[in-house]
Amino acid sequence: MKVAKALVLPVALLILWEVAMRMSGIQSDSLAPPSQIAVAFYNAMLDGTIPWRTAETLRAALTGLAIGAGCGLIVSILLGLIPPVARLMQFSIEVLRPVPAVALIPVAILTLGFGYAMEVSLVAFATFWPVLIYGHAAITNIEPQLLDVSRVLRLSGLGRVTKIVLPATLPRYFVAFRLATAVSLIVAVTVEIAANPLGIGYELMTASQSLHPDLMFALVLWIGLVGWGLNGALLFAQRRLFGPAGMAEIAR
């Protein structure tokens, strides 16, 4: 019932679009009726274009995410637990963080050339910041008394991180990771559209330039579905991992 309600509006719009295109008899290089988009999607799925290109994009996005988020996690722990490191790095972080990842595309092309390496490094750059900033905030927000407890019990440095700091901040880190995942897909597709001959973004650009609006729209919808699926999978994991307590922690 809920699903049916949610589908009323998009389905009605699609029918309207289809009917309008057929009634007016437009022959267009920039628009395509939903039926043609569906056919183009079906064909591109069948001949392997979409699965293959999706695999390329996800490979670059997820590799970059792993590197960026991993570094963000480690650096945020260092910043959070060793104040001199935070003071040392604060200026550099504030200067580098506002640089849009897209602005580094020319730099990456010049230094790394086309291919996975440049796309991965740009995704890593872009996903490093949200994890670093949210993670650092999460660590500085840990209840100070919990850190006193770890001192009084004489937990080792490693014990303090694994038994107090990480469990206390894990829900917040997971939110940061979800944000970074969305960023990774955006940056990967942007890099592909702008320069890199790889992935869904490149296929999308090619479809647009070769006047194939049906395939172009099919790919745009597909990217939306991929992003939605990724976020859904992470939300599901979040509920499974942290349960109601973890979700409450996030709300706080």
Partner: protein, 282 residues
């Protein structure tokens, strides 16, 4: 006129003992276990402690009372190794306290922030065992024993949010005991509990430490609680924190919530402490 029989009687004119700084050791414990030597401390420009000299003997129960800002929690944190004094030093068994030690355990006031919310009662007790390197195989039995000691045998699998305030504080007691400490530092541990729970826990702590002969330093706002629990009550003046007087409590043990609190000595001490605190505020 009643004075503690085993202390020197200087300053004992008014029916209770007033011994200024650094009282002499008691007969049952020749070596001071904890000692403050000329300790002063500042928070920024604000002096919080000024020239504190105090010795605490083994197996003694010392209560510290005083208004907010008298530095009693800071003194406790110094013994616990959580804070280093700016001048002077704090010693434990003759050695300077440089950091937290296994023999000294610290019980925090705010139980909701001192327990790990993602661990069960048993898991929270286990934390102390893990920190002390107790082998995995021995932990379960130790945890069961400790939780039984504080009356939580049936709540091992409950998370802190599922326990009442008193129960959470019992978990904290069990976690402190897991360290097998010779000194227990308690920072207003029962301040947030209702009166009935507080009295139950007062008796519980007396019973537990009597068996193990643990030394206790207990910070509280509650003068009656200080007299009821303590062998000595250290009263502090605020701004900056100074030791004003040390009262000896010569009430018989074991203490009883009704008879002890009704005994003339208790009432006399209570009167003296109340008068004293009022003077300090004036």
């Amino acid at each position: 006129m009643q004075c503690a029989a085993n202390t020197k009687n200087q300053g004992c004119e008014t029916g209770y003992c007033m011994i200024n700084v650094a009282p002499l050791p008691r007969a049952d414990a020749a070596v001071p276990l904890i000692a403050f030597h000329g300790v002063s401390h500042m928070f920024g420009n604000r002096p919080v402690l000024q020239d504190i000299n105090l010795t605490i003997n083994k197996s003694e129960f010392v209560c510290m009372v005083g208004p907010s800002g008298c530095g009693k929690t800071t003194m406790l944190r110094m013994v616990g190794g959580l804070q280093t004094p700016a001048t002077g030093e704090v010693t434990f068994a003759g050695k300077r306290v440089a950091g937290p030690a296994r023999e000294i355990s610290f019980m925090f006031q705010d139980y909701s922030k001192a327990l790990l919310p993602w661990r069960t009662a048993a898991g929270n007790v286990s934390l102390a065992l893990e920190a002390n390197g107790v082998p995995t195989g021995q932990r379960a039995a130790r945890i069961k024993d400790l939780l039984g000691k504080v009356g939580l045998a049936n709540h091992a699998d409950h998370f802190p949010v599922q326990l009442s305030g008193g129960m959470q504080q019992r978990v904290q007691i069990a976690r402190c005991l897991a360290q097998e400490p010779s000194v227990l530092l308690m920072d207003e541990p029962f301040g947030a509990l209702d009166a009935m729970t507080r009295q139950a826990l007062q008796d519980e702590i007396l019973r537990i430490i009597q068996a193990s002969r643990t030394t206790v330093v207990f910070v509280t706002h509650d003068l009656e609680e200080a007299i009821y629990l303590g062998d000595r009550v250290v009263a502090l003046y605020p701004n900056p924190g100074r030791i004003a007087q040390v009262f000896d409590v010569d009430l018989p043990k074991p203490r009883n919530q009704l008879t002890t609190r009704e005994s003339p000595s208790f009432l006399r001490l209570r009167r003296a402490l109340f008068d004293f605190i009022r003077e300090g505020e004036a």
